[in-house]
């Protein structure tokens, strides 16, 4: 799985392994040492989000996040076991050591930083506004006073409600005047609603790749305007997890930096996001 | 009228009138079990007919066939000019169902287990069918009900629910309920066998009065003393046929049929 692994230069892999080896020389109680001993790192993922994470009919996982996770594990010298808990449980911390790491396109936000430790962003998702064809709206301002659908508890909802605080301090576009929020269980349910022929709302805000896929699947929407913000997405760790994890955090932070530097992430991004490089905001 | 009248064995008591109920060649199978094997019966107005016989001889089944609570396999029944023929597959035949319903209007039934409607008072039990089936208005239905409740000695219990009545009282309400339809014939299936000995007296007394006042009735019973006193005619059944029939003195004291003799011997032994 994940062609991304073969794209990475062997030399980089070697250096990461040596870095990790020096870590294990440190604290034998650190999560890093335990993972290495087990040879497996448990990574949480929510396979409801293509192309970041989804399942093949044989039950194996694939997607951008999956490739990133596999590459990180490879550079740590271990293999990955994917776990699929409810997203709300992942983001609230208190993992009870059931999994070690989240590579789940989690937006780095201020509240989450209180319970989770994040690496630097490994990529950025553009938040793309779209409007139903029926509404005839073609600009962001056209959505003023209209209803906009978002997935429950997503950064998109928080942005619309004006409570979004991105963890990297980056700014966001202004919300269309008087826009009303409609939430459904997931982003895809908004698309499903429009595709079913319902017209409970005019706008839909989701990641640009989700919007692209929905358009490809025949959902009657058009993109309006440029991305309203870029979500910084990082690898996360439970910050009050029982075994100390500072060495693991340091090791993964280093690996992410290396993956940015050696172009691995760019390659993977282009592979999964229709040739777009989302590793930087642009 | 279709049927030729049967000649009852023995002479008729003087007070009886015309034939009101005719049953001809009633046969009944339960599956392959031939329970009634051709029973004929004519009952005249003001006649009290008692049916006796051992357990399983078909007494209850015959009584239930008379008002089609059990559909006979063969034969027909005519009550007060309404005739219904056996129609063993007629459950979905509307015409048949309607005929049976009209026939039942003339045949009041009193069940062994009372079967009072528990969610209605004594009065409600008595007025329900008169109001909704005979179409009487409430005032007239209640007048009628009060009259018959008084007759069975329960004028003061008219507003009680069945759960607050004793067994004998329940059975008497059931009799009043049947009387309120003013049927031509009353059918009783062992009306006292669900009662304890103390309560039997109440019910038998009411029935004896009814008999003396000239109600037409057919009673399945195990109470030999009662049969002896109140019956105009006693019928002894065995294995789905009528073995012996006649005035009570004859059937009960000097039975001709060997099976009747054996039955009565066993029976009186026990008591």
């Amino acid at each position: 799985q994940g062609g991304g692994g073969s794209a990475s230069p062997t030399a980089t892999t070697g250096s990461a392994t040596s870095g990790a080896a020096s870590g294990s020389a440190g604290n034998p109680n650190d999560l890093l040492a335990k993972i290495k001993q087990a040879g497996v790192i448990r990574v949480s993922t929510d396979p409801n989000y293509a192309p970041q994470s989804f399942q093949k009919p044989d039950g194996t996982f694939e997607g951008f996040d999956i490739d990133v996770a596999n590459e990180v594990a490879k550079r740590l010298g271990v293999t990955v076991k994917f776990i699929t808990p409810d997203f709300s449980a992942v983001q609230s911390g208190g993992w009870a050591a059931r999994w070690d790491m989240s590579v789940g396109s989690m937006t780095i936000t201020e509240p989450r930083k209180k319970v989770l430790d994040f690496t630097e962003p490994y990529y950025f998702t553009p938040a793309q506004m779209s409007a139903s064809k029926k509404s005839g709206i073609t600009t962001l301002d056209g959505l003023a006073g209209k209803k906009i659908c978002v997935g429950e508890q997503t950064t998109y909802q928080f942005w619309l409600e004006g409570t979004l605080k991105l963890g990297d301090g980056s700014s966001t576009a202004p919300v269309p005047q008087g826009a009303k929020v409609t939430t459904l269980k997931t982003d895809q349910d908004c698309a499903q609603s429009l595709k079913s022929g319902r017209s409970d709302f005019e706008g839909w805000l989701s990641s640009s790749s989700t919007v692209d896929d929905a358009i490809k699947a025949g959902t009657p929407v058009v993109k309006v305007g440029t991305p309203v913000f870029y979500e910084p997405l990082g690898v996360a760790f439970d910050n009050k997890g029982a075994p100390p994890h500072s060495e693991l955090l340091a090791a993964v932070k280093k690996i992410i930096q290396e993956m940015h530097a050696d172009g691995t992430l760019t390659t993977l991004s282009k592979k999964w996001f229709n040739g777009a490089d989302l590793t930087t905001k642009s | 009228m279709t049927g030729n009248d049967l000649q009852p064995a023995g002479s008729l008591p003087p007070h009886v009138g015309d034939v009101v109920l005719r049953a001809r060649e009633i046969e009944k199978y339960f599956g392959h079990n031939h329970v009634l094997r051709g029973v004929n019966l004519d009952v005249r107005q003001r006649e009290a007919v008692m049916i006796i016989g051992r357990s399983g001889s078909g007494k209850t089944t015959f009584l239930r066939c008379l008002n089609f609570l059990e559909e006979p396999t063969v034969g027909w029944v005519e009550i007060d000019g309404v005739r219904a023929d056996a129609n063993p597959l007629g459950a979905r035949d509307r015409g048949h169902r309607e005929r049976v319903r009209r026939l039942r209007l003339n045949a009041g039934m009193v069940f062994q287990e009372f079967n009072l409607f528990p969610h209605m008072t004594a009065l409600g039990n008595c007025t329900e069918a008169p109001m909704r089936v005979r179409g009487l208005d409430r005032r007239r239905a209640e007048e009628l009900a009060d009259r018959f409740l008084a007759k069975v000695g329960l004028a003061d219990k008219r507003n009680e629910y069945p759960s607050r009545l004793s067994g004998g009282q329940k059975q008497r309400v059931a009799i009043a309920r049947a009387l309120c339809m003013e049927p031509r014939v009353l059918l009783f299936d062992e009306p006292t066998s669900a009662l304890d000995p103390e309560l039997i007296g109440e019910v038998l007394q009411v029935m004896e009065e009814l008999a003396h006042e000239g109600a037409t009735m057919i009673v399945v019973t195990h109470e030999m003393h009662f049969a002896r006193e109140a019956a105009d005619r006693v019928i002894f059944m065995e294995e789905g046929i009528v073995c012996e029939e006649g005035p009570p003195e004859q059937v009960l004291n000097a039975p001709e049929d060997e099976r009747t003799r054996r039955f009565l011997r066993r029976f009186l032994n026990v008591e």
């Binding site: 709300s88 989450r112 459904l184 269980k185 022929g197 | 039934m109 329900e128 089936v133 069945p162």
Partner: protein
């Protein structure tokens, strides 16, 4: 207390002394029982407080918002239970019908709806029906799905209730010449209703909680509001606890009324 003392001590007639002793014992029992509950509730609160799940500020801020879902939950439940009762009545009649078409339809409905998850049904009513041109708002869609779902389960309850009315009741009504519609409406149904009241109460309690599934189509009932309140500030467990408390209180209140109703019916229900 050892019981040997009771009859010996005290004055007054023995029956008074026994009654007094019984009363004391009963009061003591109730007290102990209440103390057990109190201890358990306090224990739970203590554990929750100790693990930092009782955040008074959070409770203060968000309780009104979550409480706002109670009216919504009740609206959905009450409407749905009414719809379900209507569907269940029709369904039960169908399941007992001798007509293969009606019977087939009813049993298909029961089988299909009981055989598939409520979540799928809600999803289907909201996102699937628009494909054939039926576009319902979230509220009617949720009520429709819940009505159909519970209607199927309650069909079986009603059917059992109707079948539990003793056969003698129907026979008694038929023997009075009542046509079958009247028999059903006046005799069978009122008795069946009494029988099924406890089961319907259970369904209502279950529905109070199942109604949380309608949040999948964006209806803001209790549990959804709890999730919404808790998640952004990563307090899912405290929020869920508040929701659970509301549900619990709702069911306790409802159970109380249900028990009273049952006891009232039980009084007049003795046959």
């Amino acid at each position: 207390m050892t019981s040997a003392e009771i009859p010996a001590s005290g004055s007054g007639p023995i029956v008074e002394r026994i009654a007094a002793a019984r009363r004391t014992a009963r009061r003591l029992w109730r007290l102990e029982f209440a103390l057990v509950w109190l201890a358990l509730v306090l224990g739970i609160v203590w554990v929750l407080a100790a693990t930092g799940n009782v955040d008074l500020e959070f409770v203060q801020t968000w309780t009104p918002f979550i409480l706002g879902g109670v009216g919504f939950t009740l609206l959905v439940c009450v409407s749905s239970i009414i719809g379900a009762v209507v569907l269940a009545l029709l369904g039960a009649l169908g399941r007992l019908s001798a007509n293969p078409l009606i019977n087939g339809l009813a049993s298909f409905y029961v089988s299909l709806v009981r055989g598939t998850p409520l979540l799928v049904q809600i999803y289907f009513v909201y996102y699937g029906l628009p494909q054939v041109g039926i576009i319902l708002d979230a509220l009617p869609a949720g009520i429709l799905a819940l009505s159909f779902n519970y209607g199927a389960y309650m069909t079986e309850i009603f059917r059992a209730g109707i079948q539990a009315v003793p056969r003698g009741q129907q026979e008694a009504a038929e023997a009075l010449g009542m046509p079958s519609r009247l028999v059903f409406r006046r005799v069978i149904l009122p008795q069946a209703f009494r029988i099924v009241i406890p089961a319907i109460g259970n369904e209502f309690i279950a529905m109070i909680k199942d109604s949380s599934l309608v949040s999948i189509i964006g209806l803001q009932e209790i549990l959804w509001r709890a999730g919404t309140a808790g998640r952004p500030i990563l307090k899912t467990i405290p929020a869920f606890l508040i929701a659970a408390l509301f549900y619990w209180v709702l069911t306790i209140i409802f159970s109380f009324f249900q028990e009273r109703l049952e006891r009232r019916l039980a009084r007049s229900d003795v046959r």
